[in-house]
Symmetry: C2
Subunit: 144 residues, 2 copies
Amino acid sequence: MFSKATEYGIKAMMYIAVKTRNGERVGVKEIAKNIDAPVHFTAKILQELCRKNLLHSAKGPNGGFYLDSADLKTPLGKIVKTLDGDRFYNTCVLGLKACSHKNPCPVHHEFKVIKEKIIDMLEKNTIGSFNTELINKNFFLKMK
Amino acid sequence: MFSKATEYGIKAMMYIAVKTRNGERVGVKEIAKNIDAPVHFTAKILQELCRKNLLHSAKGPNGGFYLDSADLKTPLGKIVKTLDGDRFYNTCVLGLKACSHKNPCPVHHEFKVIKEKIIDMLEKNTIGSFNTELINKNFFLKMK
DNA sequence: AAAATAAAGGATAAAATTGTCCTTTATTTA
DNA sequence: TAAATAAAGGACAATTTTATCCTTTATTTT
């Protein structure tokens, strides 16, 4: 459904959210380890998220990645859009370039409803909204 | 959402369904042209669908691909499973190998509902069920 | 100022997906 | 039986995605 980059990006953001909720910072190695993702690939993704301002970072000793209170309100969908572009939002399930309400592919109408639900979910849930459950270990970002 | 192979596979099956509803056969070149897909790639996909018995073919002059009445009842989901494997059906949105009801990733519960709707749609709609609309040109498999 | 730390950035590699080409096999028609 | 037709199948190429490595830059601590 989403690319690996987006999967890692969402998990990383969730992990950072929990770990830096009181001004701390956290490094890539720890993040990657805890979301079960390759370190360097994760680094590149976080870099991208920083450039796009969904995430912040500080260099040097005691540096690392962190989320400010605005960042915590980032809906999942924004991460998806940032890392996967609009391919999820604006492309036809059957890949038709010009598929639309007036010019529908055979599954257009059926999928419209579903897509709206997914988008709704992606916009409603923010990175910060999973913190409590993650802290209580009701939710997991990594499983062995 | 689905691979190109699956997109082409579904479109090809729909096209064949319409074109061979009275015992005719249709060749790859015509199919590929009408679903706007690369010819050889389409050929490979159709070969695969034949091997898995979702589709039938005949060699030689007047040969080509066709669907028998059983084939017409193939739900879209079966094509997805055949070409994309279970990656859509049995994998976690965040890529967690062991994600489950008891061990949920942060978006597991939210996505469960949505996934069920998608699967429902994929199982309910069959290849043959789009014929009338395609014939009436209310639905399109190709758009310039 | 020097050393250490950690992200930024660029180059490269590996793997997977998508796409092309060519030969073989089966079938039909003349 | 020969020629023509069309799928089957395998080899190969291009592209995209995923992953690794190394150097540079910024910051902190000593």
